[in-house]
């Protein structure tokens, strides 16, 4: 595909830090190649801002290949922009038209306070994992890997859930800022494997409790998270979490 260039109007959320109120700032950008990624477009904006002596727009990113989960902004009201199963860093400018206005906002959730501009604090996710998103096995304790057989279908299902990149788009897109898809992905990943079975009750109870403590909303089965998820995590994981929770509540002594 040959490259064309675009002229764009950007409305970007600027906020110096968590304690200061933010506002939208408008920028004109021209000569944006359709081959650029969205973040490269922001790089170009930032280079121009630095040139002018203005502070560049802060945004999170690391791998720029859709796997680390560090990037992510709302683009015209859509988490990670218009493409399905695509992170912000993998979104390319050929998706936009010449003359477009692009509104860029940070993830918004009480549990994800803004750090600066488009950067938010997602450490609540770490604390959810910390509450129980693991298998308790110390280094050196493991039996031979083939000692526990896992049927391929089961492993594939677990892998589907394990693919979550922890980006937070599900929270950002959900009208309730619920972290259910993220939490459900981890609960599913582990509960579907024999290795994760022994702690399944505790895990789901503790992770949900932590999720609530972090002030994420509850799930009203809107499905927007699934549509926004770049890793293709499906809603049936949320049902599985609910099931696991019900099971833990009624049939285990951990409830």
């Amino acid at each position: 595909m040959s490259a064309e260039t675009l002229t764009l109007k950007l409305k970007v959320w600027r906020q110096p830090n968590a304690d200061t109120r933010g506002h939208f700032e408008t920028y004109q950008l021209s000569g944006i190649s359709t081959q650029m990624s969205f973040l490269e477009m922001l790089d170009v904006l930032n280079e121009q801002l630095v040139e002018k002596g203005e502070e560049p727009v802060a945004f999170d990113h690391d791998c720029r290949e859709g796997i680390c989960g560090m990037c992510g902004v709302m683009i015209n009201g859509q988490a990670h922009g218009p493409d399905r199963e695509t992170t912000t860093c993998q979104l390319h400018m050929r998706r936009f038209r010449d003359g477009d206005t692009i509104v860029i906002e940070p993830w918004r959730a009480t549990a994800f306070p803004v750090v600066r501009d488009l950067v938010v604090d997602r450490s609540a996710f770490d604390r959810i994992i910390q509450a129980g998103g693991f298998v308790s096995v110390n280094t050196g304790n493991a039996p031979d890997a083939n000692a526990v057989l896992i049927p391929r279908v089961q492993q594939e299902k677990s892998m589907d859930a394990a693919a979550c990149i922890g980006c937070g788009a599900c929270v950002a897109a959900c009208k309730n800022a619920s972290a259910m898809l993220f939490t459900a992905a981890k609960v599913s990943h582990l509960t579907l494997l024999p290795q994760g079975k022994s702690e399944r009750s505790q895990r789901v109870l503790k992770m949900v409790a932590q999720m609530d403590e972090e002030q994420f909303g509850s799930c009203t089965n809107t499905g927007e998270c699934e549509a926004a998820c770049p890793a293709g995590i499906k809603l049936d994981n949320i049902a599985r979490l609910n099931r696991e929770y019900l099971r833990a509540m009624l049939c285990s002594s951990d409830g």
Binding site: M1, A3, P16, S33, T34, Q35, M36, S37, E40, D43, V44, E47, L49, V50, E55, P56, A58, D62, C63, R64, E65, G66, I67, C68, G69, M70, Q90, H92, R94, V115, R116, V119, D121, R122, S123, D126, I129, Q130, A131, G133, F134, V135, N138, T139, G140, N141, A142, A145, N146, V148, L149, I150, P151, R152, Q155, A162, G166, H189, L193, Q195
Partner: protein, 643 residues
């Protein structure tokens, strides 16, 4: 770079047959009384496979651990990006693999520039890693019956690679991250994300602490402990464009180097042949496409230089399948370095495609005609999808365009068999050390090494260090802390106040270009000498013309970048100097003066069978070379050939 005094380095490899060295070493090590472990604090910098595994394992043993990373969460270390898989000598497929064979392949693959004892240990431990990860819930690919699946990777003749779809690194890292978070929940690990290590604190010759900058508040902090574990990854980003993530840097390693840790074999860098080429100046990174594509893709360029026809309009007769032409028996499957150099050779000669002329075609037409589109989709669907997403081109219809890119760095801080650097108490793990891959890393071996170091080596060797030494109490107001803190602070203040015109990014891009042109795939004396000159003058310009905006005491990504570029500027000179010193071609290091008439690498075992470990003197002054001689007792020296 002039070479100063040489001195032989002690690698502390135990005596005895290679198979027994690790056992012997473990037996000879002193142990820390379990009740005393909680009295020791260990600082682990980095949360990739190496750092994450180390932090978790050390905390499980009872040590107090402080863990640091640049990203907002430990789960985002660049290990996450590894796609292909992880090797182990399990021999589950019953196809003749063994610890010895993995050991042999790795030494040979490293072109005889690694330490045999380390490599053997790595092969030995490889099996435990798979067990450990499976127990943590890493969803490795399985056969229908439920046993683990393997594939052959990177030209290995046995299937020893374990994988989780195309996301092996992600899943292994999440396993380590979860183990780490479990220890955070028990209070044994104190987590410090969004921190950048700015300096090492050395007290009485022992590594006792680090200076970090809180990237959110901009505040400098001192963290003290009884040992420091550095697992900060590779330095591929020195080249600006690489397959590394934004957070990868040389700063942590370089700061330790400046404090006395030797830097080994910096010129051993690996180029990956199948990356998506850059499309313009704005390009910020290069994306790797799995090597497996070369199993079915054919590499070609037009026979006519400057042929601007669309690929499908170029008839068969006008195509040059140069790999098949030059290497009839291996064809498109020659190793990474050979394939990379061949592509560069064609492009430099003017046959490259793409607007930039820096790309070659990887064509699936024959495979699609032979096996059908569905079969190709089943094998490579996700890769084709990724390619399509990035380039907007449909590889089912148009050949892919690929070009080599910097991918991995075999060089790193010098460590002994205990993974201890030349500064006692500073241990270096994972890609940040130099130890196991020699001059070239085999596919699926880096993940193995990171986890081996973190799960199964450091927990033993650090205990030996702690048990053998006295650790007097050090507090924040120790002179060494003051000095380290103040020098880091003033360095950043200086960077912020130069008041020039060019952004750190512009300098970085320029530096990257110099390195890529002269210290990339093909290197020669004239080029390296000129590179060193260019680096020096660019560094001088950097300190005069740098422009940083924003404040120091807040999240300031320009300032962060400036600090890292400042270190690349110093490091690049060592990189080029090492390449200049190594008058031979081996693995990823190709000196054009040292090749056969057919263009193959020529190793010089008589003169260069050593690890080049460099000691820092001063910026702009030659580093001192220390040699660790390498001997090959178990794997006889041989020459690679892929004709």
């Amino acid at each position: 770079m002039a070479i100063a005094e040489s001195q032989i380095l002690d690698s502390k490899v135990p005596s005895g047959p290679v198979q027994e060295k690790w056992d012997r070493c473990r037996f000879e090590m002193k142990l820390v009384n379990p009740a005393n472990k909680r009295k020791y604090t260990i600082l682990v910098v980095g949360t990739g496979l190496a750092g994450g595994a180390a932090a978790a394992s050390l905390a499980e043993l009872g040590y107090k651990v402080k863990s640091f990373c640049i990203q907002d969460s430990p789960r985002r270390a660049h290990s996450i990006a590894a796609q292909g898989g992880i090797n182990a000598a399990k021999n589950y497929p019953n196809d003749g693999d063994s610890i010895w064979r993995l050991f042999y392949d790795t030494v040979k693959g490293g072109d005889y520039r690694s330490r045999e004892a380390n490599v053997y240990r790595l092969a030995q431990i490889s099996n435990n890693i798979i067990d450990q990860c499976a127990a943590q819930g890493v969803p490795f690919a399985r056969e229908y019956g439920g046993t683990l699946a393997n594939r052959s990777f990177g030209g290995a003749q046995v299937s020893r690679t374990f994988y989780c779809r195309g996301q092996t690194g992600q899943q292994l890292l999440l396993g380590a991250y979860q183990a780490l978070m479990r220890q955070v929940s028990t209070g044994k690990i104190d987590l410090h994300p969004r921190r950048e290590m700015m300096d090492l604190i050395v007290v009485d010759g022992k590594a006792r602490g680090i200076v970090t900058r809180n990237l959110v508040t901009g505040k400098f902090e001192i963290h003290l402990g009884d040992a420091v574990v550095l697992a900060t990854g590779g330095y591929g980003n020195a080249y600006y464009l690489s397959t590394n993530g934004n957070g990868c840097n040389v700063t942590a390693a370089w700061r330790c180097h400046r404090r006395g840790a030797y830097f080994a074999n910096p010129c051993f860098t690996q180029i990956h042949p199948t990356c998506i080429p850059r499309s313009g100046d704005y390009q910020s990174k290069l994306t790797l496409m799995s090597e497996s594509l070369r199993n079915d893709g054919r590499v070609w360029v037009p026979k006519q230089s400057g042929d601007r026809r669309a690929p499908h309009e170029i008839p068969e007769a006008d195509r040059d399948y140069y790999l098949e032409r030059r290497y009839p028996s291996f064809g498109n499957l020659v190793p990474r370095d050979v394939a990379s150099r061949a592509a560069k050779e064609r492009c430099d000669a003017g046959y490259g495609v793409n607007e930039t002329g820096q790309a070659v075609y990887l064509d699936f037409q024959v495979a699609i005609e032979r096996d059908g589109e569905a079969a190709i989709r089943a094998k490579y669907g996700n890769l084709f999808h990724m390619y399509h997403k990035i380039t907007g081109d449909d590889p089912y219809k148009r050949p892919m365009r690929i070009y080599p890119a910097i991918h991995y760095t075999m060089g790193g801080l010098w460590v002994d068999y205990h993974l201890q650097s030349t500064i006692p108490g500073l241990f270096v793990l994972g890609e940040a050390n130099f130890s196991d891959h020699g001059a070239n890393r085999l596919g699926a071996s880096a993940l193995m090494q990171g986890l081996a170091d973190g799960y199964f080596v450091i927990p033993y060797t650090i205990g030996d260090h702690l048990a053998r030494h006295q650790f007097e109490k050090v507090s924040d107001d120790h002179a060494a802390c003051h000095e380290a803190l103040e020098s880091s602070q003033s360095r950043l203040t200086t960077l912020a106040s130069i008041g020039g015109r060019r952004s750190p990014n512009q300098f970085h891009r320029q530096l990257g270009q110099i390195l890529w042109d002269h210290v990339g795939m093909g290197r020669n004396r004239a080029g390296l000498e000129s590179a060193i000159e260019q680096i020096r003058s660019l560094r001088a310009e950097f300190w005069e013309d740098l422009k940083v905006v924003g404040k120091n005491e807040e999240l300031n990504q320009v300032l962060e970048k400036a600090g890292r570029v400042a270190d690349y500027m110093e490091f690049a000179e060592l990189l080029a100097g090492d390449a200049l010193n190594r008058e031979e071609s081996c693995g990823g290091h190709f000196r054009e003066e040292h090749q056969t008439p057919e263009g193959e690498a020529l190793r010089d075992d008589d003169n260069f069978s050593y690890v080049a470990a460099w000691e820092f003197n001063a910026v702009g002054e030659p580093a001192t070379l220390h040699k660790e001689p390498l001997s090959f007792e178990s794997v006889p020296l041989a020459t690679r050939s892929y004709k």
